[in-house]
Amino acid sequence: MAVVPLARKPLTFAERTYVPQILGGLKITIKRFFQPTETLQYPEQRPEIPKNYRGVPTLVRDPNGREKCVSCQLCEFVCPPKAIRITPGEIAPDAPTAHVEKAPLAFDIDMLRCIYCGLCQEVCPEEAIFLQNQYSMSGYTRAEMVNNKDRLYELGGTLPDQHYKWDKKKAAEVHGAAHH
């Protein structure tokens, strides 16, 4: 191993007076003084939300406007802080989507409990619940912080669907190739 002898230089007189260091610091700060600021003026300017951002959980519809949730309650049971509460309901027999059979009667997510973990999205077999871009939730009362079904659909909107699972099932039933 090569040994590199390094001399410990004593401080020069200028260094001991501390003045050149202060002047150097002043130079740095005055440069910074004239540079543009980097602050985002928040309410007017919004941050760019990265892909796969986990914001407020929302319910989504498929491109045909069908509500995708079938109230299986898996999300309710997997939810670690027990923020989700679903009241399952039936779809009326004369509705065009009657073969889906179930839809939530009520769907409440308490945003004071939600920890934005995304397990609900992961567990959902229907791809009906998504954590989307919404990052700021505010309200004046506790009740306002509970998102009900209407609010959840309003926040969620419509997302593209790759499967059209229930349309395929219906088509299969009609053409007699049902596989269940």
């Binding site: 610091g25 740095i28 003084f33 980097e38 003026q41």
Partner: protein, 388 residues
């Protein structure tokens, strides 16, 4: 108008002038606090306060948003907040002295303004007449004597708060302010040795110091001593003076009495609302007066440039016979210099970290004071040789 004013009783005249100066200094100090926030923000790459705007100002097209952006309304909002918010007095303080301390802080801060000349005009005979509330012959001595009373407010506040952090702050304040007063006073003596010839009536007047820096350019090859600002003649004096000024006004890196990192808030820990803001106004007033004195002593006062005295400028602008306009111009020149110095104060504050207490004492006693004495001796000998 002017005749009416000069026919008034001198006491009433003095009162009006005094109120006018306070009306200038108080908002100036407030503006300094705003400037401080803005300067710190810009140095740290932030925009700083830029939100508050009364609705009727938002309707003004360009001016309104511009004022909003520089935070002018935050200044008003802060002032109003300090004026109207609840003012709790802690139960464990000595109430009388606790209330007295901010008042004692304000009095020297505003009193020193009276002896500081802040401008000049030319009279009919072409002589330069300084503008000051009281152009007394003791000038600088009065400033030093009165401004050092300011330390009593810190000690009083620290002691009357009756808790340990303010107490430590008060003790630090007394030790620090007394230490640096010595170097400060010693550093300006060469200036007065220079302007006072032996055998003639002596003066400590600040206006006289400026007079000695107002020589016109003699010729390009030999410009003459008269026009040189003292900062070029006596750089070491100027350096000692400005360092001591930082310490005397409790500014970073010497803000031992406050040092919020180790003493919570130092001497004003127990204070809130209007009393607290009075301490701040006093601190900024000290800064303004200190910068003013520094400008007068070392930066040529109201003379625009070295070898370019006010009288010459007045000749160029044909203002020699318009004392009002010339007076305003000289005040403007003076204020610009003071503002630059105050910016330097802030610039240093947001650059240099606070010294440790033992370092402050070491710098004061073991470095600045010997340097000041050596400087004084060197200049005394040099002046004796030159003036012989």
């Amino acid at each position: 108008m002017a005749d009416f004013f000069f026919n008034l009783h001198p006491v009433i005249q003095g009162l009006i002038k005094g109120l006018a100066v306070i009306c200038v200094i108080f908002p100036f100090a407030g503006a300094c606090s705003m400037a401080e926030r803005k300067v710190s923000a810009w140095i740290q790459g932030r925009p700083g306060p830029n939100r508050a705007i009364p609705i009727w100002f938002a309707w003004v097209p360009v001016l309104g948003p511009a004022l909003q952006k520089i935070g002018a309304f935050h200044l008003l909002a802060d002032g109003l907040k300090f004026l109207f918010k609840e003012e709790p007095t802690p139960g464990h303080v000595h109430k009388f002295y606790f209330t007295l301390a901010p008042i004692v802080a304000m009095i020297p801060a505003f009193t020193t303004v009276t002896v500081v000349p802040f401008g000049a005009y030319l009279d009919a005979a072409g002589r330069v007449i300084p503008l000051a509330l009281a152009n007394v012959d003791v000038g600088l001595l009065a400033v030093f004597a009165v401004s050092s009373l300011g330390v009593y407010s810190l000690i009083l506040a620290g002691w009357a708060s009756n808790s340990k952090y303010p107490f430590l702050g008060g003790v630090r304040a007394s030790a620090q302010l007394i230490s640096y007063e010595l170097s400060m006073t010693l550093s300006v003596i060469p200036v007065f040795l220079w302007i006072n010839a032996p055998g003639q009536p002596g003066t400590l007047s600040l206006a006289k110091v400026v007079e000695f820096q107002s020589g016109a350019l003699q010729s390009w090859t030999a410009p003459g001593w008269g026009g040189v600002w003292f900062v070029f003649l006596m750089p070491v004096s100027a350096f000692i003076f400005i360092v001591s000024l930082f310490a005397e006004t409790n500014r970073q890196p010497f803000d031992m009495p406050e040092s919020e990192a180790d003493l919570v808030g130092g001497f004003h820990t127990e204070y809130g609302a209007f009393k607290w803001s009075l301490f701040f106004v006093a601190e900024y007033s000290h800064m303004i007066v200190g910068s003013g004195v520094f400008t007068l002593l070392f930066f040529g006062g109201w003379n625009p440039l070295p070898w370019l005295p006010l009288a010459t400028l007045a000749g160029w602008l044909h203002l020699a016979h318009a004392p009002l306009w010339l007076g305003l111009l000289s005040i403007l020149i003076f204020l610009v210099k003071v503002a630059v110095l105050i910016f330097v104060f802030m610039w240093v504050r947001w650059t240099v970290p606070r010294f440790r207490y033992d370092q402050v004492m070491r710098i004061g006693w073991k470095q600045l004071l010997p340097l000041a004495i050596a400087n004084l001796l060197a200049y005394a000998i040099a002046i004796a040789v030159i003036q012989k």
